[in-house]
Assembly symmetry: C2
Homo-oligomer: 196 residues x 2
């Protein structure tokens, strides 16, 4: 229907997650109306990110330089390693500014239904790091079925190496209301109650 | 926070309408995980659309070849021209398959508050076309304040040229419910009632 390069751009935009045909069409016509520089800069950013970004050889996070800035920062405590499933999880923790240890990115969680087993995660790299003097492994996968399964598997594999394994707490979100919290979360929060 | 090319991609994606910082970040990390080809193809589509798409010299629609396919289609009735504000409006009408005349794209509507006057629209090109034997001009701008103002202005300018000017009907949407329609639309539908 629309001239071919427009149709192609709409199809490419619609491949992005959460972007349907209608949104893709709206974005395409917006870009057509916008100055050339906007499309060009977006295209350059797309190419550049794929050319320059690779995995840090230590923590497996996405980085321009390997080892990454977090791994080469001498002020961070290398004896404490926080394991996350995906890079955005790492940034979510880093934004809080509350963690001064190092990270390890698994690039996935165990999910037998999707055919993702231990060999599909960056586990070998983690075990190599643990051999070199790590005291505590904090497992910060999400508190859902796959995240919990991954945490349990990690604990089983890592504990024999003499490394302390801990799990981030589950409970009520700060600022949330007990009345509207789901039952499983309330049960977890009661179970994990702390003396005050 | 994130490595620079990632931050740059997130910023570029967040410039798109309706895409906030969080969605942009989700899209960027999706692209990083996806095969290189997806980013490359999107980048190519972005560049190509800007290189190849221009305005049809006749109807002002976006096209690869000028005159466009619609203007060079000899089976279409050139004595009937449908005026729309933007290219997506044209595709919306064309998708219905119910119109066999030609189009003219204004690339905007009159909007004094935004400083958009008649000289900012593709009006001169329209008047030139009308001189060359057009019987009826169908004004298909949206039925909102700017669309109506543009329609009234067009009628005033075009009628003296001896061209019949008509306006697409306003009324209840087909399949909609009277109970939930807004008052102005119901009033319009009553006013424009037709014998049956």
């Amino acid at each position: 229907m629309s001239a071919d390069p427009i149709g192609r751009l709409i199809r490419e935009l619609a491949r992005l997650p959460g972007i349907g045909e209608k949104t893709a069409s709206r974005l395409a016509f917006h870009l057509l109306r916008a100055p050339d520089s906007q499309s060009r800069e977006l295209a350059q950013a797309l190419v550049e990110v794929k050319e320059k970004i690779r995995l840090c050889e230590v923590c497996m996070n996405l980085t321009e330089a390997s080892p990454c800035a977090l791994c080469s920062d001498g002020r961070r405590d290398g004896r404490m390693v926080c394991v996350v499933a995906h890079p955005p999880d790492l940034y979510a923790i880093e934004r809080t500014g509350g963690f001064r240890g190092r990270y390890h990115v698994l690039h996935g969680v165990l999910s037998p239904l999707d055919g993702i087993g231990p060999d599909d995660l960056r586990l070998k790299e983690l075990l190599t790091r643990l051999a070199a003097g790590v005291d505590e492994l904090i497992v910060a996968t999400s508190p859902n079925v796959e995240g919990e399964a991954t945490a349990l598997y990690l604990a089983k594999v890592v504990r024999p190496l003499g490394v302390k394994v801990s799990r981030i707490a589950s409970g009520l979100a700060v600022g949330g209301e007990l009345e509207y919290a789901d039952g499983v979360t309330i049960a977890k929060a009661l179970e994990a109650r702390r003396p005050m």
